[in-house]
């Protein structure tokens, strides 16, 4: 771990006990995120990407492994220490309406982090005005309620609240997936401006590859609870190594009809297996076009491959 490492995950596991069995939502993830970096975490529904984001805030229990924020292991933190952690690490969600109290004015919602941190009323009020200005909302938004705002504006409110205590890291869980195209671009641009201005880092969780390609410096691809490939954005896009990364990129629609027709498209068959009983060996072997006997029994480790990225596959 270097001095610029903000977040470090080491063999993290998250499990849920359900009536149907143990769901291995996150199954041995190791990742680093540097100060000022945007790390894109991509994968399909049920791959564990949102659960991993929540684990970093200890919103779900960590079954095994280690999560360090600025070098501090978060697993043993008590309640007070956890509050301090949550000043450094904030989260914004896909559904901004569901994450704002409908009976609380926007001013009160945005002021809440300062109230918990023990700020004076005056300092809090000033801070709320500043925050709303940063995210492009007028000061009269304070007296209004969440239902009076559009989806894009609500996401701005969520971002203002996340920024309240100057966090080092914001976990963005599908922050633009519910927004229309034109508004989505506004929110992405806002996130990029805020990063420039404050040097905040993002863990940007999304299923939308074109958005991640636009915003991320580095990308990690998740499948069935594990990271199958991670590397610099261009390494992943120009020279994907893992068969799943290749399939994912091939499946993503391209908003350019000539490029879309020109590319070779091999459609991946089948669907994500259940995380309750993940296949032994490589998690991807049941859908992999390259799978061999060995993949059914040996789980491949993440290692550096030819492109310079990390990939978990026996045949790269």
């Amino acid at each position: 771990m270097s001095a610029t490492t903000l977040l470090s995950l080491n063999d993290v596991h998250v499990r849920f006990n359900t009536a149907a069995g143990v769901v291995r939502a996150v199954n041995g993830v190791s990742l680093d995120l540097a100060v000022g970096e945007t790390l894109g975490l991509v994968g399909e529904s049920g791959c564990g990407k949102s659960t991993l984001g929540k684990a970093i805030l200890r919103l779900v229990p960590i079954a095994a492994g280690e999560i360090r924020v600025e070098g501090t292991d978060i697993a043993p933190l008590d309640r007070a220490q956890l509050n301090a952690l949550r000043r450094k690490v904030q989260m914004i969600f896909q559904d901004p309406y569901g994450s704002l109290n409908p009976r609380s004015t926007v001013g009160r919602s945005v002021a809440q982090p300062m109230a918990i941190a023990g700020w004076t009323a005056e300092a809090t009020a000033q801070r709320v005005d500043t925050l709303l200005g940063w995210v492009g909302l007028s000061a009269d938004a304070k007296q209004r309620y969440p239902h009076e705002f559009s989806g894009g504006q609500r996401q701005r409110i969520g971002i203002a609240r996340a920024l309240a205590l100057s966090p080092r890291l914001i976990i963005c869980d599908e922050p633009v997936s519910a927004l229309d195209v034109s508004v989505r671009a506004q929110v992405i641009n806002l996130l990029e401006d805020l990063k420039q201005q404050f040097g905040v880092s993002y863990l940007f969780i999304s299923h939308d590859l074109s958005v991640v390609e636009h915003i991320a410096d580095r990308v990690a691809v998740m499948y069935l609870g594990t990271i199958v490939e991670a590397g610099a954005r261009d390494q992943i896009w120009r020279n994907p190594q893992h068969p799943y990364t290749k399939a994912l990129l091939a499946a993503a629609p391209i908003a350019n009809p000539r490029l879309a027709r020109a590319r070779q498209r091999s459609v991946l068959q089948g669907e994500l297996p259940s995380p309750i009983d993940p296949p032994a060996g490589c998690p991807f072997h049941s859908r992999c076009p390259m799978a061999q006997e060995r993949c059914k029994t040996d789980r491949p480790e993440l290692r550096t491959v030819g492109s310079g990225a990390l990939a978990a596959c026996h045949f790269i």
Binding site: S210, P253, G270, E271
Partner: protein, 328 residues
């Protein structure tokens, strides 16, 4: 397009009658879809694209919505004045529809087989045994894994992608000449989306269906459409062949949508071109062009006069004064 096009929509208007007043959710939409052709209806939430589809199918929630003008000609017959019993014969037989959320469009307490057989026995002369056999063939045709076993499954036992395959099997069961797909892949994962898009293309090519594909995703448009209709605040603002639209968008809104969509593999722009502001509510539409308040090319005229659709070039339609100026 020739007169033989299976679906022709002419000057269709759909009005919402609400307590807050009446508003035109679809305003004078015209549309022709030829056999084997895919026309994409594109726009953001509230632009009227789904209500257009429901108007064509005569599935509008009434009240508050009603078709107040226009014709929908399916294989030579106008659907708008038809009584509901006639529509029951047409829906699922001559015109099929697939919705965004297959889970809630399927009957949760009936098996897959029961639901497909019901479509077949309603619209065709097939007896139960023959219909059952046909249901299995259809499931195999739409690429359902382990089709024979899935016949007995209930929707909750299937994944979203499999439910969408069942919906597609039901929609094409009676060889409709027109298929309307309303955001059919929006709820699906990207690898499953690719499977469903490939399936729809294959079935369309085999049967020569006319298809209306409704989506907000320009990537999906580029992958599937032959022609594109862009809607904004209930009106068609641009129509063009898919390549023309992406290469030379004429309406500033179309250009804005394309600029706001990141394209993987293309050179990375520092910022996305966003469109400031948001879509005006239908009951607060301005007198002039509905896009004027957000438009980078707005002129004085746009604020009080509404641009009509014009054809500045062959094969292109656009409703914009600035685009007209460019063409002059």
């Amino acid at each position: 397009m020739t007169a033989a096009a299976p679906l022709q929509v002419h000057d269709l208007s759909t009005t919402l009658f609400t307590r807050r007043g009446t508003m035109k959710a679809v305003d004078g939409l015209s549309l022709t879809v030829g056999a084997g052709e895919t026309v994409a209806l594109v726009g953001e939430s509230g632009c009227g694209k789904s209500l257009s589809a429901l108007s064509i199918m005569r599935l509008l929630p009434d009240p508050p919505a009603r078709v107040t003008a226009g014709r929908v000609t399916l294989n030579g017959r106008d659907l708008v004045p038809l009584p509901e019993p006639s529509m029951l014969d047409i829906r699922g037989k001559e015109i099929g529809m697939i919705f965004q959320d297959p889970m809630s469009s399927l009957n949760p307490v009936a098996t897959v087989e029961h639901q497909i057989v019901e479509v077949l026995t309603t619209h065709t002369a097939l007896g139960r045994t023959a219909a059952r056999q046909r249901a299995l063939e259809l499931l195999e045709m739409v690429g359902m894994p382990d089709a024979a076993r899935r016949l007995g499954a209930y929707p909750h036992q299937l994944s979203g992608g499999m439910c969408q395959r069942v919906m597609i099997a039901m929609a094409i069961a009676c060889h409709p000449s027109v298929l309307i797909a309303d955001e059919p892949t929006t709820a699906l994962d990207v690898t499953v989306q690719a499977q469903v898009l490939a399936l729809l293309k294959r079935l369309q090519a085999e049967a020569g269906m006319a298809m209306i594909f409704i989506t907000h995703d320009l990537g999906v448009v580029a992958e599937t459409a032959d022609r594109v209709v862009v809607m904004y605040a209930g009106r068609k603002v641009e129509e063009a062949a898919v390549d023309d639209l992406f290469e030379t968008p004429l309406h500033p809104y179309t250009a804005g949508l394309i600029g706001a969509t990141p394209t993987p593999g293309a050179a990375r722009a520092a910022r996305l071109a966003d469109i400031p502001g948001m879509v005006p509510p239908l009951n607060e539409l301005p007198a002039g062009c509905a896009f004027a308040a957000r438009c980078p090319r707005v002129m004085e005229r746009c604020r009080h006069e509404r641009p009509a659709l014009t054809a500045p070039r062959p094969g292109r339609l656009v409703a914009c004064f600035a685009a007209e100026q460019d063409a002059a």
